[in-house]
């Protein structure tokens, strides 16, 4: 029986005078991979910002395990396990791979860091090989792996990712998505923002489609993949 772990209810938010989100609601249940799809500027990143605490909502509530966390700081939400792997990966370019991982442990007990670093290298051997190299010298795919590994260092109870496939070669994208499935299989729910809708829907249990700040569709991954209307409007029509 899936229970709701994260929800946002009737969120209005924006920058300056204009609203980007017009009363948006969504939820993530335990064990799920949820995809949040939508075109450029639809408000996907803003939605993740509301959940992670980087953007303050104008009205509405964010609930985490039943508790209202709308006013909690980023660090508080992180400590509770709400971890965002942001758009554009944002690897610290002049920290080494290992230091980037350590940065991810900032809110956790430092005593566990060596163990967690070993686990990260077991999971992503390429990062172990590059441990001393500066983050900025990694390839795009390696940087995305590192960004995910760094997010895992924060010990997520929900992992949110903003367009992890952006700018990566198809083979690398496949690898990233299979890693997300793996992470999910270990019990961590995933909220995945993507423009690469076809791929995302294949791994998502459920998905939302966001269009200029309004959720226009919700359904299981299969339903949305099968829907002609959605295919035409958001999935590039193939």
């Amino acid at each position: 029986m899936a229970t709701e772990i994260l929800s946002m209810e009737s969120i209005r938010a924006g920058y300056g005078p204009n609203d980007v989100l017009h009363g948006t609601s969504l939820r993530v249940d335990s064990g799920e991979i949820v995809a949040l799809l939508g075109g450029n500027g639809a408000g996907k990143t803003t939605t993740l910002g509301i959940l992670a605490g980087t953007v303050a909502p104008r009205t509405g509530t964010v609930r985490w395990m039943g508790k209202d966390i709308s006013r909690h700081s980023i660090a508080d939400r992180l400590r509770q396990g709400l971890v965002l792997c942001p758009e554009g990966r944002r690897i610290f370019p002049r920290l080494s791979v290992e230091e980037n991982l350590v940065a991810g442990t900032w809110i956790r007990d430092p005593k566990a860091t060596p163990r967690k670093i070993r686990e990260a290298y077991d999971r992503f051997p390429i990062l172990g090989q590059r441990r001393g190299q500066l983050g900025g010298t990694l390839s795009g795919g390696e940087q995305q792996l590192l960004a995910i590994a760094r997010a895992l260092m924060s010990e997520p109870k929900l992992l949110m990712l903003d367009e992890p496939s952006l700018g990566l070669a198809p083979l690398v994208v496949e690898r990233i998505f299979s890693i997300l499935v793996e992470i999910n299989a270990c019990g961590t729910p995933v909220l995945l923002v993507e423009q690469n809708a076809n791929q995302a829907l294949k791994i998502a249990h459920r998905a939302y489609v966001l269009s200029t700040g309004t959720l226009v569709r919700e359904g299981t991954g299969q339903e949305l993949l099968a829907s002609d209307e959605i295919r035409r409007a958001y999935l590039g029509g193939d």
Partner: protein
């Protein structure tokens, strides 16, 4: 000649200690801390008072009083550094660049006047209990004649620099400071309190400046409320020479300016030493606008 080199290196080591504070704040905030020279000056006065108090309490053993005085000075300046960050910088974050610049200059004037009015507007003697015996103890190593005070200055600067290097390169705090310097948004997504870390950068830099202040005070024997002005300028020049924002650069810049001054002094006379250090700065900036070890702007942001 050898002595000139040693003098230049000791002077340069002092510049380097102060330059580190400029470069750390610039690295993390992208701004110059124009009140940084005052942290050096406050360190001078703090250690003078600490030594005075310890002396009147009957403590005279140099091995004990000096470390205490330095630590007091470092702690006090660190406190003022944090205050400076809060009052002159944090409130104005996001404002036009000239706003914090102006408020920092204001802070610098306030601190100078505070010391001038509450202590003295003339010179104050630095307690001789510590410095005199150190300056009088001289060793000859081959052709080199060096005082215990110089050894102490070179030694403790070296230790402080190694300590800073260790903190920046090998501790979680250091990783967080560098993370904030490189990508503030991502640092906060890692749960780092950006404001606190910026305060830390000010505090560490101020503490190093205070240690430098104590050593210069011992060397010169007198202190003044405006001592931070010229020295702050020199150290700032050193930071820019080495490439502002770059920690090894600050050390290199400090040592080079110190050496240039003492070489000039012995070659053409002390009147020319300020000219030579700034001439060196201009020359280097003409050839390498980012300083000797400075990064290109593109790498920085």
């Amino acid at each position: 000649m050898l002595e000139t080199l040693v003098n230049g290196l000791s002077r340069g080591a002092i510049y380097a200690l102060v330059a580190l504070g400029y470069t750390m704040v610039y690295g993390i905030l992208g701004m110059i801390n124009f009140a940084h020279g005052e942290m050096f000056m406050l360190g001078m006065f703090a250690s003078a008072f600490a030594l005075g108090a310890l002396g009147s309490a009957g403590l005279v053993s140099v091995g004990l009083t000096l470390p205490i005085a330095i630590l007091v000075a470092m702690a006090l300046s660190a406190g003022f550094g944090a205050m400076n960050e809060r009052m002159a910088y944090r409130k104005l974050r996001g404002a036009h660049l000239l706003a914090p610049l102006t408020s920092a200059i204001g802070m610098s004037i306030v601190l100078q006047n505070f010391v001038m009015l509450s202590v003295t507007k003339g010179k104050k003697d630095f307690p001789q209990s510590v410095s005199a015996p150190l300056a009088d103890t001289r060793w000859s190593i081959g052709p080199l004649n060096i005082s215990a005070l110089q050894v102490l200055i070179l030694g403790s600067t070296f230790v402080l620099m190694i300590g800073l290097w260790f903190v920046i390169q090998r501790t979680r705090l250091g990783i967080a400071l560098r993370a904030v310097a490189q990508d503030r948004t991502m640092a906060s997504l890692c749960g780092m309190k950006v404001d606190h870390l910026i305060t830390w950068a000010f505090m560490i830099g101020s503490a190093l400046a205070a240690a430098a202040g104590t050593m210069v005070a011992m060397y010169q024997g007198v202190i003044r409320f405006d001592a931070g002005y010229t020295l702050g300028l020199k150290a700032f020049a050193a930071a820019v020479l080495g490439g502002i924002g770059n920690i090894p650069g600050a050390v290199l810049g400090g040592l080079l300016i110190g050496l240039a001054e003492d070489l000039t002094t012995s070659a053409v006379g002390a009147d020319w030493k300020h000219t030579s250090s700034f001439a060196l700065l201009i020359l280097v900036l003409l050839l390498r606008p980012r300083g000797l070890l400075g990064e290109r702007v593109a790498d920085k942001v």
